[in-house]
Symmetry: C2
Amino acid sequence: MPATTKTASRYDVIGIGNAIVDVISSEDDAFVAAEGLVKGSMALIDAARAEELYERMGPGMEMSGGSAANTMAGLASLGAKVAFIGKVSEDTLGEVFRHDIQAIGVAYETPPLPEEVAPTARSLVLVTPDAQRTMNTFLGASVFLGPEDVDPQMIASARITYLEGYLFDRPEAQAAFEKAARAAHAAGREVALTLSDTFCVERHGPEFRALIDGHVDILFGNENEMQVLFGTSTLEEAFDEVRGLCEVVAITRSAKGSLVMHGPTLFEVPAQPVRHLVDTTGAGDQYAAGFLSGYLKGLHLAECGEIGSITAAEVIGHYGARPEVDLASLVAAKMS
Amino acid sequence: MPATTKTASRYDVIGIGNAIVDVISSEDDAFVAAEGLVKGSMALIDAARAEELYERMGPGMEMSGGSAANTMAGLASLGAKVAFIGKVSEDTLGEVFRHDIQAIGVAYETPPLPEEVAPTARSLVLVTPDAQRTMNTFLGASVFLGPEDVDPQMIASARITYLEGYLFDRPEAQAAFEKAARAAHAAGREVALTLSDTFCVERHGPEFRALIDGHVDILFGNENEMQVLFGTSTLEEAFDEVRGLCEVVAITRSAKGSLVMHGPTLFEVPAQPVRHLVDTTGAGDQYAAGFLSGYLKGLHLAECGEIGSITAAEVIGHYGARPEVDLASLVAAKMS
């Protein structure tokens, strides 16, 4: 449950993550296979590969993305006071990212990198007819985020600090996470973490488990990520492992909805019906946004999951990982 | 009817127009009014105004646009051999424009402007809940298109040269149009013109009428543009004026469909039903694409209009001015 601190909070949630602009393109399964990609995953690519893949992919639409940034955009649309920490460059895509996140009411003040150091991160998102997304991310300026970008006073002013697992690929970012988590807990605040990606969890299992053990109050992930994280063959076993490490765990299961764990209790939350499934990018990000918006209000955890189902259903009905409608009104209408 | 020339044609259609990246944002009517904009129109803005308006507008999605470029993208999706002539800069948005139009199979070789001269054109497109679009275009590099960018041999190799009325704001572009039209007719080819915008027609009535009189075989426009062009109070009177100047005229009428004039004959073409109207940007552009694809096959003009209704209906069902599906398959399914 939300920490009842004595000091006023300036922000409801601060997210720390990659500052990415998505380049979204419709592709068929054959294209994804020919490029040697694992459908549904996120692969890190370098500048040369990004250029090569962009050359071959279809016409794109550019939209701001980044997992934690998407969640912060969702929370802002739900009426929460939100900030984001992440690194862009002083280039056009950096301006696009900054504009988009500020335009939706998210405080974003991380100083950009000079253009000559690295370009703003982009993710080439291939959306197949089954609405699955396969992401190819060139991290660019994003990797330059470090502990110096985390202001402990700012973190202390937020009820929840939300960390994006994707950042685990860099020691500098891991250090930023630890600094943020310590600052949050020192101020009696809470820390949330999203596991982000199976391969990312596989690459950094021990570091993830250490962070969760000492520093995480609310954990988000999907079934695969949980099983890979704890090396178990069933989700139940993974829950047994995480119980005790972390108080609240919310696990998304695509069309099956989500499971919300609170200590020994497990709530099963159904998915919301989606009329026309277009692009699943951002489903987990918006689930987390919906869940946290309920959590901030002190709602029952099953209700938090329900709100997550509603906000996830909105985002998968259109291209792009951020809401197209006012989520506060949508949730109010659906929950009434 | 298509000219039956003896020489082989390398292209079905070459479009000449502004090379623009759209920045699309959902806004309410109050925002459009507060910015002093005329809903549904296109306003030219300078760099300072573009920055100011961008600052105030909501999060955007960047997608390649430009009226004639959209029509060429539609024609390519319909299986036609297509080229585009228009000016971008050597910057990120220029790369985006180039990638997107080439990715859909449109030949595009216009040399870009050096980045320091001017940035790539962008249009801030505000889409209101009624699916109307209000465009604010900073032309940037686009205005540097001139006669030197028009290769008469290339024009002579295309069955139809398609001119975008928006370019009429610049004498250099008008000169490029005249050069292209002369080259096309010298080779026994046809010339199409789209009127683009009521205000644009109002600004350049005499120049438009002179071009149509001497150089245009197929004219596209909407009801307002036609009446403004000929200074008439009814569409019937405008048709009376244009008859004799131009052989084929196709006039879109939003939900009422279109009217296709062929000499003394007028065909009324119904609109296609649209399940969920989202964004009318590109409706006229895709109507022209559909119409011309039928025209290239020598179909009856009423059928050309029907195909235009189908392709226009597709594009107004989603954000962005270019098709999201393979139009050739869509039209084949609907016309069978």
